[in-house]
């Protein structure tokens, strides 16, 4: 009887090891932690940004969170807790426009109910972040007063941060974003960017491809996020 019990235990342990082995060798579902998308439902097609990438992000194993037009302080707190962060909020050079007319900027010493400078938060605050995609208009353009938001996110610990140097269009953004995560499930960040660029050209044309190809990229892009 004892020998039988031992055999059963041994079989259970072996089965467990096999399952763990399979999971470890499979990139899908290997990731843990938060992937957060902030968006603005008042923009036409704004909800497409989270909805079209959700399944790809979840399939990597992340806990998927989405927030509609949160305040600047909430956005920064989501950023601190996210391994993957996507902003579909409006933007301007050096600025992310958040809910309740609040803004996040890179440079300066702003820390009020209306504005927050990322410069004022602790170094290493975004050290868990594998990627930040900041899609708003001209978020990739540094501003003389507000600084370079993309460089600042990276300097606060993110492995990589990407912003766009031009006025962006939600349909292009949601499609590029979907294509990016479709590939990022099983490939590097750089391959995923290349995949998104290529297919956006096929789907929406040369102008869309050039518009979304005009980026400010900071940090390394040869890593994976799964």
């Amino acid at each position: 009887m004892k020998i039988k019990k031992r055999k059963v235990k041994l079989l259970i342990v072996l089965f467990g090891i096999c399952v763990l082995g399979i999971l470890a060798s499979n990139p899908i579902l290997a990731a843990t932690g938060n992937a957060t998308v902030v968006y603005d439902s008042t923009i036409k097609g704004g909800t497409d940004i989270p909805s079209k990438c959700q399944s790809h992000i979840k399939s990597m194993g992340y806990t998927f969170n989405q927030y509609d037009l949160p305040k600047h302080t909430s956005v920064v707190s989501y950023m601190k807790n996210a391994k993957v962060f996507v902003s579909g909020l409006h933007g301007a050079p050096g600025t992310i426009n958040c809910g309740s007319n609040s803004i996040i900027v890179a440079k300066g010493s702003l820390n009020s109910a209306h504005a927050l400078s990322l410069n004022t938060i602790a170094n290493g605050s975004f050290s868990n972040m594998k990627i930040a995609l900041i899609y708003g208009c001209k978020t990739g353009v540094p501003d003389a007063t507000y600084g370079d938001i993309i460089s600042m996110i990276q300097s606060k610990g993110a492995t990589c941060a990407i912003g766009w140097r031009e006025t962006t269009n939600t349909s292009r953004v949601s499609e590029w974003n979907r294509l990016f995560f479709e590939k990022a499930k099983k490939d590097t960040v750089v391959e995923s960017i290349r995949h998104a660029d290529y297919w956006l050209l096929s789907l929406q044309g040369t102008e869309a491809h050039n518009n979304m190809g005009n980026r400010n990229e900071k940090g390394t892009i040869t890593h994976t996020i799964y």
């Binding site: 426009n97 269009n169 750089v190 960017i193 050209l201 096929s202 789907l203 044309g205």
Partner: protein, 260 residues
């Protein structure tokens, strides 16, 4: 007399009933001059059943591939190195090769490196050999993409100086190897060659639309780009307009001008 009356009444009745019918028919047939907010065709991604692997001939080399997925009318096959091949009606209309490991590229770069001019020449040569009527395409330009260290070369079969979706895209790495190619809409707009785009009329209609939509909020706007596309089997001029409001918010909005 009675017969005449009957004939007149019948003719009048036919005319009266035919007016609304012809108007509604005309509406169904033509949307010419209409402006609508851009209705984007999203990627129709599907995995077809009963599709098997294929041996493809890519630039004279045989490549064994497996069926992966389909997007719109294009079937995508993948080989053991994760290179993707686009097939449309049995013809290879594109491919995207997996990037080489960075270290390998760096090692090779020490040996040889091509410039922009050479990249363009390679792309033109490739286009001549792999695209029908390549001479009808306009070279839009070549630029270097720092993200993935490749030259990107663009060609377009333009109509009346306007971009169309009939485009060719070729990327070349610094070693001179073609790393991706896309020409999946060859000939799609050929029947429209020779049409005239009435710029002034289009601009007027767009201005009307933008003013109606934004009203007092509108500070200024400018036309960003125009591309001829097919939407619901109709020729549409997609106009991207950059809008600035009095709240200093910028938008890039799409408006479709129906050409037929």
């Amino acid at each position: 007399m009675k017969v005449k009356k009957v004939v007149y009444i019948t003719i009048i009745a036919i005319i009266i009933t035919s007016i609304p019918i012809s108007i509604s028919l005309a509406r169904n047939v033509s949307d010419e001059g209409k402006v609508l907010e851009t209705n984007y065709t999203m990627a129709n991604l599907e995995v077809k059943e009963n599709m098997s692997g294929k041996e493809l001939n890519i630039n004279g080399k045989k490549v064994n591939t497996l069926y992966s997925y389909s997007m719109n009318e294009v079937d995508i096959y993948i080989d053991k190195n994760e290179n993707e091949y686009l097939q449309k009606s049995g013809v290879t209309v594109g491919f995207i090769k997996a990037m080489e490991v960075e270290k390998q590229i760096e090692d090779k770069l020490r040996e040889v490196e091509i410039d922009e001019k050479a990249a363009l020449e390679i792309a033109i040569e490739y286009g001549k050999n792999n695209v029908d009527e390549f001479e009808k395409y306009t070279t839009l330009g070549v630029k270097f993409c720092n993200t993935y260290n490749e030259y990107q070369v663009y060609f377009n079969k333009m109509i009346d100086n306007c971009l169309t979706m009939d485009q060719i895209y070729i990327t070349i790495n610094k070693l001179g190897n073609i790393t991706s190619f896309l020409a999946d809409k060859q000939g799609m707009f050929d029947k429209y060659q020779g049409i005239n785009i009435e710029e002034n009329l289009v601009n007027e209609r767009i201005e009307e639309f933008v003013n109606n939509k934004y009203g007092q909020e509108l500070k200024k706007y400018k036309m960003n780009s125009k591309t001829l596309k097919m939407k619901n089997e109709k020729l549409v001029l997609e106009c991207m307009v950059e809008i600035e409001t009095h709240k200093d918010t910028n938008y890039l909005e799409g408006f479709d001008y129906y050409m037929e």
